[in-house]
């Protein structure tokens, strides 16, 4: 942003190339309106033209509609350059065509040339970069805008949206004029379009004449970078709507009637003021004219406040807001909370201290007259938004990212750039990295499966104080749509959605919770174990179907919650008990656990070399040179862009070899278990493998999933399993710990004890009731392995389930 001292002086209203400014200053100041060429576009659309229906051969019959978005039309005459010394602007003056010597006062716009150029653009422009899905139903090899005009003639909506970028690629000079003098150029465009339209479709009937709405001006600006040079220029800025006012009827034209002779006259509003006629032109009475509200003309107007999007803001500052005025049919097009791109004219109006005082507050009020709105979060046909993309990555950036991707060790590099303050845990970081990239989104709705989850869910569990929360915080800060909640403080409604009464409108509104807000992002849930059961139950749907169904207060809906879950859980006993399984340690239902692709244990390894490295890492963390910090800081920004780029552009598909590798991997995993009579892999694990392999391909910026991706996915998956699904009794990896909550060996053991107990009771003969303690002692005496009380209880329970016995208090009764 240029500082005010460096802001070049600028006359309010006009700016352009230096030549123009110079040229302006040589114009004698007493140009009178009667010298104005009446065919000028400046007369176009003024109230007088509407009332009398300016006869223009080609557009006869269709009324022009005022464009309050362009502001009140000023009495700016065109200037005949030949009345000036020819040296003033040689280039224009030397034009041979006499009609082209006229430019609008204060600009370098020549109406004729401008009109011609724009018509040529409309007739000839073919978008070379257009893709099929962008312009559904249009023939890409025909001039784009002629097809759009045809559409207008069919649909009857007289609005033509023009992409400024296309204007620029077609005619840079025309584009420059459009940006610099929108107030003059857009009416010219309107005129050009209407002439063209009514030439081609002479019989079509429109509500009013076609209005051109340019959008996507290249100077897409951050609200922060608006400065006085932009006044009265066409700008496109993005932001979030925070407030909309009620509809305001704005007087465009006042209707006065003489009280004496009933002579009526119309006065148009000029810059918010009406010049009340003092004398009746008909009967020459003074002060006899009265305003008749019913017959005055009003237009709709709405004030909209937009605020900078949080992404655009420098840290440590508050967001700026800008006022936007929407006119006519743009009113009520946006709601608070919408993210929009606005194209409009930037205005500054001086503020008067009071009409009587001559002192003026030396401050201007600024606003934007909106010409075009575009919601940025509204998903277009294929979910991509070209504007957002353009803004995100410059070519240089893409180049750096691609260079980075080409490096063989990109995977390691990125994973080590992740949360550098956290020491080691390489595999966990790699897992989180893959989670950040996510799998490829697939749609199986035709085959009845619905959406296939592309997001990777990760659970970290382990000892308190192993920087789990710090990892979560880091991820939350890294991704643009992250949410951070703590299981302790969040309720089911806080995670999903709740219905509340809006204090202003008194209507019921659905307020979305963390999971919905992190759609397409990552939801970090700390203290997952502390979450209440009811809260946890909402996660079941989200973590597999990726939707949220809501039925409350008469609102029944299904919201998308395509979020990856990164959760952290502490063991139930404050310390991780290595003698217990994961399930027993964190006491989470296995139904939920099986929905996590990767479950990592963050334990404190007890090993001297590790300790030394850890200590070194921590000490250097506390005392490190500036450059090193700088270096890593850069990494975070690059990492963020890298992930964003990969997520938007890279959609890897499985290659033939990769599919084979996946099949083999799955079969292997099943085999491991089948040897010991247990299932060690389920289709869910296969899906996880595919997701991880896809994510790894994304890391490489590869459109194809190859064998190396599968290898890494396998490795990581195995690592995670090794940590979380190892049966502490046998030392084998046993997936059933995670899927059924109990290892196969434990189940087998339970069975054995129950059978032994049954035998014992049968051996005792016909005793209908036994003492609990005695039975336990007997069993212990008989068995060669130690029998715990819990094991005994479980055996009793399983026998009770068979209706063999019942337990009441301290006695065990046999059932006949």
């Amino acid at each position: 942003m240029s500082s005010p001292t460096s802001t070049p002086g600028r006359k309010r209203g006009r700016d352009g190339n230096p030549a123009t400014r110079e040229f302006c200053s040589t114009i004698p100041k007493m140009f009178l309106p009667n010298e104005v060429d009446m065919s000028s576009p400046l007369m176009y659309g003024t109230p007088s033209s509407r009332v009398e229906g300016t006869p223009r051969s080609s557009v006869r019959g269709t009324p022009a509609r005022q464009r309050p978005d362009l502001g009140s039309v000023r009495k700016a005459p065109q200037v005949d350059l030949h009345s000036e010394p020819p040296s003033a602007d040689g280039a224009v003056a030397s034009e041979p065509n006499a009609g082209q010597r006229l430019v609008i006062w204060g600009t370098d716009v020549n109406v004729g040339t401008c009109k011609e150029k724009f018509q040529r653009f409309l007739q000839r422009f073919i978008d070379p970069t257009a893709t099929e899905d962008e312009n559904a139903g249009l023939d890409l090899n025909e001039p784009l805008y002629m097809q759009k005009l045809e559409e207008i003639s069919v649909v009857g909506d007289p609005v033509l949206n023009v992409n400024c970028l296309q204007v620029q690629s077609f005619d840079a000079e025309l584009y420059r004029q459009l940006i610099c003098y929108p107030q003059e150029v857009i009416p010219t465009f309107d005129m050009a379009v209407n002439e063209l339209f009514f030439e081609r479709f002479p019989d079509s009937i429109l509500e009013y004449q076609i209005q051109v709405r340019p959008y996507n001006a290249l100077k897409t600006r951050n609200m922060r970078s608006l400065n006085p040079e932009d006044i009265d220029q066409l700008i496109t800025i993005s932001g979030m709507v925070i407030r909309t006012s009620q509809l305001i009827p704005e007087m465009q034209e006042a209707f006065f009637q003489c009280q004496v002779c009933a002579y009526s006259t119309r006065v148009e509003v000029d810059r918010g003021r009406i010049a009340e006629p003092a004398v009746c032109r008909h009967c020459n009475n003074t002060h006899s004219l009265a305003l008749v509200h019913n017959r005055s003309a009003f237009s709709d107007k709405q004030m909209i406040k937009i605020q900078e999007s949080p992404e655009d803001m420098p840290a440590g500052q508050t967001p700026h807001t800008t006022i936007v005025y929407a006119h006519n049919d743009l009113v009520d097009k946006v709601q608070p909370g919408d993210r929009i791109n606005i194209t409009g004219i930037y205005r500054a109006v001086p503020m008067r201290v009071s009409p009587i005082q001559s002192n003026v507050k030396s401050v201007y009020k600024t606003h934007i007259d909106a010409i075009h709105f575009r919601k940025t979060d509204e998903k277009r046909l294929h979910g991509l938004d070209e504007d957002a993309e353009q803004k995100l990555f410059t070519e240089d950036r893409v180049q750096t990212l691609k260079e980075l991707a080409a490096k063989p060790d990109v995977y390691e590099r990125l994973s080590s750039a992740l949360a550098p303050s956290i020491y080691e845990h390489e595999d966990i970081k790699k897992g989180i990295l893959l989670q950040l990239f996510g799998g490829t989104r697939k749609d199986f709705s035709q085959t009845g499966r619905g959406n296939f989850r592309a997001e990777v869910n990760i659970l970290l569990c382990g000892d308190p104080g192993t920087s789990k929360s710090q990892l979560l915080q880091y991820v939350f800060n890294l991704v643009p749509r992250g949410q951070y909640t703590s299981g302790k403080g969040s309720s089911a409604v806080g995670l999903t959605a709740y219905v509340m009464k809006d204090p202003e409108t008194r209507q019921l509104v659905l307020q979305t919770g963390a999971l919905v807000l992190s759609d397409n992002g990552i939801c970090c849930i700390d203290e997952f174990d502390k979450m209440s059961d009811s809260t946890r139950s909402v996660l079941h749907e989200v973590m597999e179907q990726q939707t949220l169904s809501i039925a409350k207060a008469g609102i029944i809906c299904q919201l998308n919650a395509r979020t990856a879950v990164l959760a952290a859980a502490n063991p139930v006993e404050s310390q991780w008990n290595p003698k217990k399984t994961t399930i027993e340690n964190i006491q989470l239902p296995h139904t939920l656990l099986s929905r996590f692709d990767l479950i990592f244990l963050m334990l404190d390894p007890q090993d001297e070399a590790y300790d030394r490295r850890l200590a070194h890492h921590l000490v250097s963390l506390y005392y490190q040179s500036e450059e090193q910090i700088e270096e890593e800081f850069l990494d975070m920004a690059v990492l963020r862009d890298y992930i964003a780029y990969a997520r938007t552009y890279i959609n890897p598909r499985l290659s033939e070899e990769a599919s084979q590798a996946l099949i083999e991997a799955y079969v292997d995993m099943r085999k491991i278990g089948s040897g010991r009579g247990m299932v060690s892999a389920y289709p869910r694990q296969l899906e996880s493998l595919i997701r991880l392999a896809e994510a790894h391909a994304k890391v490489r910026f590869s459109e194809k999933v190859e064998t190396i991706d599968v290898e890494e996915a396998k490795r990581l998956h195995r690592e995670a399993l090794k940590q979380s699904a190892t049966d502490p009794r046998t030392g084998f990896v046993d997936i059933s710990i995670l899927t059924t909550g109990m290892s196969a060996t434990a189940r087998k053991r339970k069975e054995e004890v129950a059978q032994a107990l049954k035998k014992l009771i049968q051996a005792k003969g016909k005793t209908p009731a036994m003492k609990y303690q005695q039975l336990l002692d007997d069993l212990r005496g008989q068995s060669e392995t130690a029998i715990t009380k819990e094991l005994f209880d479980e055996a009793l329970r399983s026998l009770a389930d068979e209706d063999y016995l019942t337990v009441t208090g301290k006695t065990v009764r046999l059932l006949a």
């Binding site: 201290v353 009071s354 030396s362 401050v363 200590a615 963390l621």
Partner: protein, 624 residues
């Protein structure tokens, strides 16, 4: 005084003189003017001549004079465009005028003039530093300048001024009377006149006006500071000393009045803002003066006892304090031990806590924070309050937050954007850096936290763990890093996280706590001794610190050894804490790098603290 006179009282004249001498507005005279003032202000002690808005009531200050203001940026408004240069309509006086450093133009403006220059400036809403303790105010105002009053705005007054300067004792006395309180009610003379003219509207709006101070019960002027350059370099919650031109033009307040009366349809651009927004963004100048910034000095601290130059630039001061540090520390330790009922270990930790400071951030991790939980505080006899009052005497700014159920459920801790008035409604956690926040948990009683309460407790937890506050922007949250020293006083373990918990072990059991405490307070602490403590704490916090390579190595070895003996006893978290303790311990002794001794001492006191905690847990088995 004579030389300073001109630029303090008539900076705009200097300005216009410059403007007049330059026919071409683009020749960079503005830069020259700013340079001129900056140079003047850099002169030795020049800034002490400038009257301060913090100390001097507004109506004693002359409009359009140079003043200074020690403040915190509470909110940032939207940038505004103004006439940087304009021509008047009246052809006889048709000269180019400068619109900078002014709110209102003089004479009629020729809007069609092509010499008009539009420029941009930014407005910050600034409040006095929240929680600034009375002693800071007292000391800074004792060295304050006597301003030329608006009652005698003529130049002749200058000669009297010299006499007045000689008998400084009488003048501040005179001024202290109107200082207290009703400054806000009656602004300058102009305002008073207006009140008589339109009593109903003016007083109504004045009483309605919420000056948006972060902490309840704060006083003092707030200010709209207009910034002309480099506004991107300022951040929310920065503390600054702003030198600028005071503008209290009544026209600014009149503006607001008129709006209510005549909302004309025909002037749509002006009727668009809500009345609420009007009131916030253009409050009466008598209540919220405008200050056009010439120069701003970021304040690394607000301790008036330290020289204003940075420590590096003032090596004489630094070396003299450093040499005294160890002895001052010993005195302070004795004093605090006394306050903490004879517990020397707790007193030692308290010193470490008081000089802690977030000096860097590594990704999300703030380094150097040292939130302390002082458990085992006697609930009786308002011990915690007394304790806070003593700390208040030592630190420049502080805030006492009693964590009663009512407070937690009702207080606004987190700032929230009010989109109707278009401002950031402040909360108690919007504090300047190094503010001492005292959380008193002994007041917590049984009951239920409601939604606000839960949110407040979460915010406190986030503040302690990550040193950040998530400001509520309704549609999204925005994270603002902060640097606040949090001390939690509780009976048992606190419900909030902390970096270190120390259980208070009272060595003395005074029969009458009340009496004991009031004795401490009345303890003849001479002000010079207090001042020594104050300087000590502020200087220790600002010292640089480093760890040599050998020390790194030895710390590593130590850590490995400790883990070898008993892996359960020392975790990475413990090492984190010990590194912070070692750092603070070195700094508290005035050492700027870690020595073997300090490391061992850090290990030792941490061990003592932990053994005490274990001991305490054994005694009190039901402790969580």
């Amino acid at each position: 005084v004579d030389t300073s006179d001109m630029y303090i009282n008539g900076p705009l004249q200097v300005n216009t003189d410059h403007a007049a001498s330059q026919s071409n507005p683009k020749s960079g005279w503005e830069a020259k003017v700013v340079e001129f003032f900056k140079d003047r202000l850099k002169e030795k002690d020049a800034h002490t001549w400038v009257p301060s808005l913090n100390d001097v009531p507004l109506h004693y200050l002359k409009p359009n004079s140079l003043v200074k203001f020690r403040c915190l940026i509470q909110d940032m408004f939207d940038p505004e465009f103004f006439m940087g240069a304009y021509e008047t309509v009246d052809p006889s006086t048709n000269v180019l005028r400068c619109g900078r450093y002014k709110d209102v133009t003089e004479c009629g403006v020729d809007f069609n003039s092509r010499n008009t220059v539009t420029a941009e400036r930014q407005t910050f809403y600034c409040v006095p530093i929240p929680g600034e303790n009375p002693w800071v105010k007292e000391i800074s105002s004792s060295s304050r300048v006597v301003p030329s009053t608006s009652y005698a705005p003529t130049r002749q007054k200058r000669s009297y001024e010299e006499d007045d300067m000689d008998d400084m004792d009488t003048q501040p006395q005179k001024q202290r009377e109107p200082h207290s309180g009703h400054t806000e009610q009656h602004g300058n003379g102009d305002c008073k006149r207006q009140e008589t003219e339109a009593p109903s509207s003016q007083t109504a709006s004045a009483s309605h006006l919420d000056l948006n101070f972060p902490l309840p019960g704060e006083k003092g002027p707030s200010c709209l500071v207009k910034v002309y350059e480099d506004w991107d370099s300022f951040k929310l919650n920065d503390t600054l000393e702003v030198f600028g031109i005071l503008s209290v033009s009544p026209a600014l307040s009149a503006l607001a009045d008129e709006k209510d009366a005549s909302s004309s349809i025909l002037d749509p651009t002006e009727s668009m803002e809500t009345a609420e927004e009007q009131r916030v963004h253009s409050p009466p100048a008598s209540l919220v003066p405008r200050l056009h910034m010439l120069y701003a000095r970021p304040l690394p601290h607000n301790n008036p006892l330290l020289p204003s130059a940075t420590l590096e630039d003032n090596s004489a001061f630094l070396s003299s304090t450093l040499s005294e540090m160890a002895s001052v520390r010993a005195e302070l330790l004795t004093y605090l031990t006394h306050v903490l009922l004879g517990d020397a270990l707790a007193a030692e930790y308290l010193i470490l806590h008081l000089i802690s400071n977030v000096y860097a951030r590594r990704d999300v991790l703030p380094l150097g924070k040292f939130a302390m939980n002082l458990s085992g505080c006697p609930a009786a006899a308002l011990y915690t309050q007394r304790f806070y009052q003593i700390i208040q005497q030592l630190v420049p700014s502080s805030f006492y937050l009693g964590m009663s159920l009512q407070n937690m459920n009702q207080m606004r801790l987190v700032p929230k954007k009010d989109y109707v008035a278009n401002r950031l409604v402040s909360g108690a956690l919007q504090l300047a850096r190094n503010t001492f926040l005292f959380l008193d948990e002994t007041h917590l009683e049984q009951g239920q936290l409601d939604t606000t309460g839960v949110r407040n407790v979460t915010a406190l937890g986030n503040l302690i763990s990550w040193q950040k506050v998530d400001y509520d922007f309704n549609y999204h949250q925005m994270e603002f890093p902060c640097n606040i020293n949090v001390l939690i006083a509780s009976e048992g373990r606190s419900l909030l996280p902390s970096d270190c918990q120390i259980h208070l072990q009272s060595q003395v059991s005074p029969p009458n706590m009340e009496e004991y405490l009031s004795n401490i307070q009345l303890h003849p602490q001479t002000s010079s001794q207090l001042n020594k403590f104050r300087i000590y704490l502020s200087v220790a916090r600002q010292l640089d610190y480093s760890i040599s390579d050998e020390m790194t190595k030895s710390v590593e070895d130590d850590f490995v050894d400790m883990r070898k003996d008993d892996p359960q006893s020392v975790s990475a978290e413990d090492l984190h804490r010990m590194l912070v303790v070692a750092r603070l311990l070195s700094l508290s002794l005035g050492q700027t790098s870690l020595t073997r001794d300090s490391w061992l001492r850090a290990k030792h006191i941490d061990m003592l603290r932990r053994s005490r905690m274990e001991q305490h847990q054994c005694v009190n088995g039901n402790e969580p």
